[in-house]
C-alpha cells in the first residue's frame, strides 16, 4: 500500500514503461516523417504542373528505374531533382546525423553537457586549414581549387586530433584534462585564424567568414560518397558501443569498476569522432548547433539511454539540418547554420521549459 502512494505499483510501472517506449517510437517516427517531407519540399522544382505529389512520384520512379521520355516536363524535373536537389538533401541528412551522433558520444564520454564534436579543436583545425587555402592560398597537398579547400580542411582537422591522441598517452587523462586540452588547442588555432582574418582585406575576410559559418551550397554527388561511407561505418560503431557509453556517463570510477578500459575506450571514441567530424566539416564548413543541441533535445524527451539517444538524435539532427536547409534555400543569402540556430534555439528553450522530471533525463 505504501508503494501505491509513490506511484510505484506494478501497473503504474508498466504503464510508465509503455509511455517511455511510446515516446521513443513517436519521436523517431516524427523525425523520419519530417525528413521525408522536407526531402520532398527541397526537391520541389519551379516547373508548373509538378507539385509535391508528382515530386514523390518522380523520385519513386527514378528509384524503380523508370525513365521519362526525353525532354518532357517530367524528364526535366527528374534531372533537376536528381542532379541538384538530391545531393543537397542527402548532404544535409548525412551531415546532421553525423554531427548529432558525434555530439551524443562526446557528451556521454566526457560527462559534460557543454561538450560537442568541436570540443577537441577539430573545427578550428579544419577552419585553419580552409582559411589557409582561402586567404593565403596555401595548399597542404597537391590538390588545388575547390577540392584544395576540402583537403586542407581535412588535414587541418586531423592535426588537433592527432595532437590529443599523442598527448593523451603522456598524461593521466581525465575527461576534464582532455576537454581542457581540446579547448587550449582550439584557442591556439582560433588565434591563428583570427590573425589571418584581421590581416587580410575585407572581401577575403567575408568569404573566409562564410566558410566558417558553414553552408551546404554547392554540394554535388562527388562529395557524398566519402561523407556517407564514413558516417555509416562510424555511426554503426557508435551504436555498437552505446551500452559502454552508458557506463561511461556514470563517471570514470563506476566505469572502471564495471570493467571498461576507460582510457583506451576514450581514445577509440576520440579517433572515431575525429574522423567522422573531419569528413563532414571539411565539405560543409563549421555547422554549429546540431552537435551540441540535437542530443540534448532528444535526451530531454526520451531520457539518456544512449542505445536510444544515439539513433534518434541522428534522425533529429538530420531533420533539423534538412529543415534549416529548406528555409535557408528560400532566402538564398543566409547560410544554413544561421537559420538552424534562429529556429532551433527557441525550440530548445521551450523543450527545457517544458521538460518535467518524468522524462527521466539525468540533468
Amino acid at each position: 500500500m505504501e508503494y501505491e502512494e509513490e506511484g510505484l505499483t506494478r501497473d503504474g510501472l508498466k504503464e510508465e514503461y509503455h509511455h517511455a517506449i511510446a515516446r521513443k517510437i513517436i519521436l523517431l517516427t516524427v523525425c523520419v516523417l519530417g525528413i521525408v517531407l522536407f526531402v520532398g519540399l527541397l526537391s520541389l522544382s519551379n516547373y508548373e504542373g509538378v507539385g509535391l505529389k508528382e515530386t514523390y512520384e518522380i523520385i519513386w520512379n527514378h528509384i524503380l528505374g523508370n525513365e521519362y521520355p526525353s525532354k518532357s516536363l517530367f524528364w526535366w524535373a527528374d534531372r533537376y531533382i536528381w542532379n541538384t536537389a538530391f545531393p543537397h538533401a542527402l548532404a544535409a541528412i548525412i551531415a546532421g546525423a553525423a554531427l548529432a551522433i558525434c555530439g551524443t558520444m562526446m557528451q556521454s564520454m566526457m560527462v559534460n553537457p557543454l561538450a560537442d564534436p568541436y570540443s577537441t579543436g577539430i573545427s578550428s583545425g579544419a577552419c585553419f586549414g580552409a582559411i589557409c587555402a582561402i586567404v593565403v592560398g596555401v595548399s597542404f597537398s597537391s590538390v588545388t581549387g575547390e577540392m584544395g579547400i576540402v583537403t586542407n580542411a581535412f588535414i587541418g582537422a586531423m592535426v588537433p586530433a592527432l595532437l590529443i591522441v599523442f598527448l593523451a598517452q603522456r598524461i593521466h587523462m581525465t575527461p576534464a584534462t582532455l576537454i581542457l586540452l581540446g579547448t587550449a588547442i582550439s584557442y591556439f588555432f582560433n588565434s591563428m585564424i583570427t590573425y589571418l582574418m584581421v590581416t587580410t582585406d575585407a572581401d577575403t575576410l567575408q568569404s573566409a567568414y562564410m566558410w566558417q559559418v558553414g553552408s551546404l551550397d554547392g554540394m554535388s554527388w562527388d562529395s557524398l560518397p566519402i561523407m556517407a561511407v564514413v558516417t555509416v561505418i562510424g555511426s554503426a560503431i557508435v551504436m555498437l558501443l552505446s551500452s559502454k557509453l552508458n557506463v561511461m556517463s556514470l563517471g570514470e570510477n563506476s566505469a572502471i569498476s564495471l570493467g571498461v578500459d576507460v582510457e583506451r575506450f576514450r581514445l577509440l571514441c576520440l579517433v572515431l569522432m575525429a574522423v567522422m567530424t573531419a569528413a563532414i566539416v571539411s565539405f560543409t564548413g563549421i555547422i554549429g548547433f546540431i552537435g551540441l543541441v540535437a542530443p540534448h533535445m532528444v535526451r530531454l524527451v526520451i531520457g539518456s539511454d544512449n542505445r536510444f539517444v544515439a539513433p534518434i538524435s541522428m534522425a533529429a539532427g538530420a531533420l533539423l539540418l534538412l529543415a534549416a536547409d529548406y528555409i535557408a534555400f528560400q532566402f538564398s543569402d543566409i547560410p544554413v547554420g544561421v537559420v538552424m540556430s534562429v529556429i532551433g534555439s527557441p525550440v530548445f528553450f521551450l523543450i527545457i521549459l517544458w521538460q518535467t522530471r518524468k522524462a527521466g533525463a539525468i540533468y
Partner: protein, 365 residues
C-alpha cells in the same frame, strides 16, 4: 622517532602538529604565488608604458608617469602619449584580465564545469549583438546617443539580456545547474544567429569592422572608461572574495550545500548576476576578449588548488599579469597591432597545454 611501545600518543601529537605545519606551509605557499603574480603584474604595468607607436624608452616613460603623479613639469607630448594613451590602456588591461579571470573562476565553481567561462551564459553573444546593431545597422537602443558611445551602451544593455532571461526562468522553474547551462546555450545561439544574419548580409567593409569588435582590442581605452570599470571590478571581486567560503560549499554540490545550511540555487543565481554585470561592464568597452576567462582560473587552480579564498585572488593576479603582458606584445607586434585576444590565445594556448601535461595531479576530478 619514539619506540614502538607507548609511543602512540606522541605519534598522534606529532602527526597533528605535522598536519598543522603542512597546512600552514601550504597556505604560505599559496600566498607566495599570489604575491608573485601581483609583482609580475606591477612590473608588467611599468614595462608596458614604454611600448607603443610613440618612441619613448621604458625608464623615461616610467619617469613621465611618476612626474605626472607628483605634478612635476613634463614635455606635453610625452605627457600625452604616456599619461593619456598608455596608462589607461594598461589599467584597462589589468582590469580586464583580473575581472574576466575572477568571473571565470566563479562560473566554473558555480556550475562545477571546467568548460564554464564568463561567456557561457551568452553574455558575449548579447554584447556582440548590441555592437553589431550599431556598427552594421546604425541602431541605438537608448535614444540621444551617438558616436562610439552607442556601441558601448548597446553592447552593455544587450549583454545583460541573456542573464536576465536565465534569472527569470530560474525564478519560476527549478533549474539544475545543467539546465541553466542549457538555457544559456539556447539564448546564446539565438543571439549569435541574429548577429550572423546581420554579418553575412552586411557589406564587406562594415562586416570587417564588426568582426574586429568581436575579436576585442584594448586600443580604444580612454580615461573616461576607467572609473566605471575600476569601481565595478574591485567592488564585485571584493564581494565575491568575502563570500568565498560559501562558494566553496557550492563546489561540494547542491545537496552538500543544503546540509551546510546554504541555499545553493540562491547563491548560484546571485553570483551569476554579479559576474554578468562585471563581465558586461568590462567587455562593452573592449569587445569580447576571449581565452583569459576560461584559462586564467585553470592556471590559477593548478598553482593554488580550488579553494576560492586563494583561487579568486590568484586568478585575478594571474589574469591581470597575463593580459597586460599579452597587450604589450600586441603593441610590439606591428603598427596596427594584433588584437590582444589573438596574442593571448596564440601564446597562452601552447603554454596551457604544457602546464596541463606537466601537472602531476589534476586540479579537476
Amino acid at each position: 622517532m619514539a619506540d614502538e611501545k607507548g609511543g602512540g600518543d606522541i605519534l598522534i601529537e606529532d602527526t597533528r602538529d605535522g598536519f598543522r605545519d603542512e597546512y600552514r606551509s601550504m597556505n604560505r605557499r599559496k600566498a607566495m604565488f599570489i604575491l608573485a603574480f601581483l609583482l609580475l603584474a606591477a612590473g608588467a604595468f611599468f614595462l608596458t608604458l614604454g611600448f607603443g607607436i610613440y618612441d619613448i624608452g621604458v625608464t623615461d616613460a616610467v619617469g613621465v608617469f611618476f612626474d605626472h603623479l607628483l605634478g612635476n613639469p613634463i614635455d606635453p607630448k610625452d605627457d600625452y602619449y604616456v599619461w593619456d594613451v598608455r596608462v589607461p590602456r594598461a589599467i584597462g588591461a589589468l582590469l580586464i584580465g583580473a575581472g574576466l579571470s575572477v568571473a571565470g573562476a566563479i562560473m566554473q565553481n558555480d556550475f562545477k564545469n571546467p568548460l564554464a567561462e564568463p561567456y557561457t551564459m551568452g553574455i558575449s553573444s548579447g554584447a556582440f549583438l548590441g555592437a553589431t546593431l550599431n556598427i552594421i545597422l546604425g541602431i541605438s537602443i537608448v535614444p540621444f546617443i551617438s558616436g562610439t558611445a552607442t556601441t558601448v551602451v548597446n553592447s552593455f544593455i544587450c549583454s545583460l539580456i541573456p542573464t536576465a532571461i536565465i534569472v527569470l526562468v530560474a525564478k519560476y522553474r527549478n533549474l539544475t545547474p545543467t539546465a541553466m547551462i542549457l538555457t544559456g546555450i539556447a539564448v546564446m545561439f539565438l543571439f549569435s544567429s541574429i548577429t550572423q544574419i546581420m554579418m553575412v548580409t552586411a557589406p564587406s567593409e562594415t562586416m570587417a569592422d564588426a568582426y574586429e569588435w568581436r575579436v576585442g582590442s584594448l586600443s580604444s581605452m580612454q580615461w573616461e572608461y576607467i572609473p566605471v570599470m575600476l569601481i565595478v571590478t574591485v567592488l564585485i571581486t571584493a564581494v565575491l572574495w568575502f563570500s568565498s567560503s560559501k562558494l566553496n560549499v557550492m563546489y561540494a554540490g547542491d545537496r552538500a550545500a543544503q546540509t551546510f545550511g546554504e541555499n545553493a540555487r540562491g547563491i548560484r543565481v546571485s553570483t551569476l548576476v554579479l559576474v554578468s554585470v562585471m563581465t558586461a561592464v568590462l567587455i562593452c568597452f573592449t569587445g569580447t576578449i576571449g581565452f583569459i576567462g576560461l584559462v586564467g582560473p585553470h592556471v590559477a587552480r593548478i598553482f593554488v588548488g580550488s579553494d576560492n579564498r586563494y583561487l579568486i585572488p590568484t586568478s585575478a593576479a594571474f589574469g591581470a599579469a597575463f593580459v597586460i603582458l599579452a597587450d604589450t606584445l600586441a603593441k610590439v607586434s606591428g603598427p596596427n597591432g594584433l588584437p590582444v585576444g589573438v596574442i593571448c590565445s596564440m601564446i597562452g594556448g601552447p603554454l596551457f597545454i604544457w602546464i596541463l601535461v606537466r601537472q602531476r595531479k589534476s586540479a579537476w576530478i
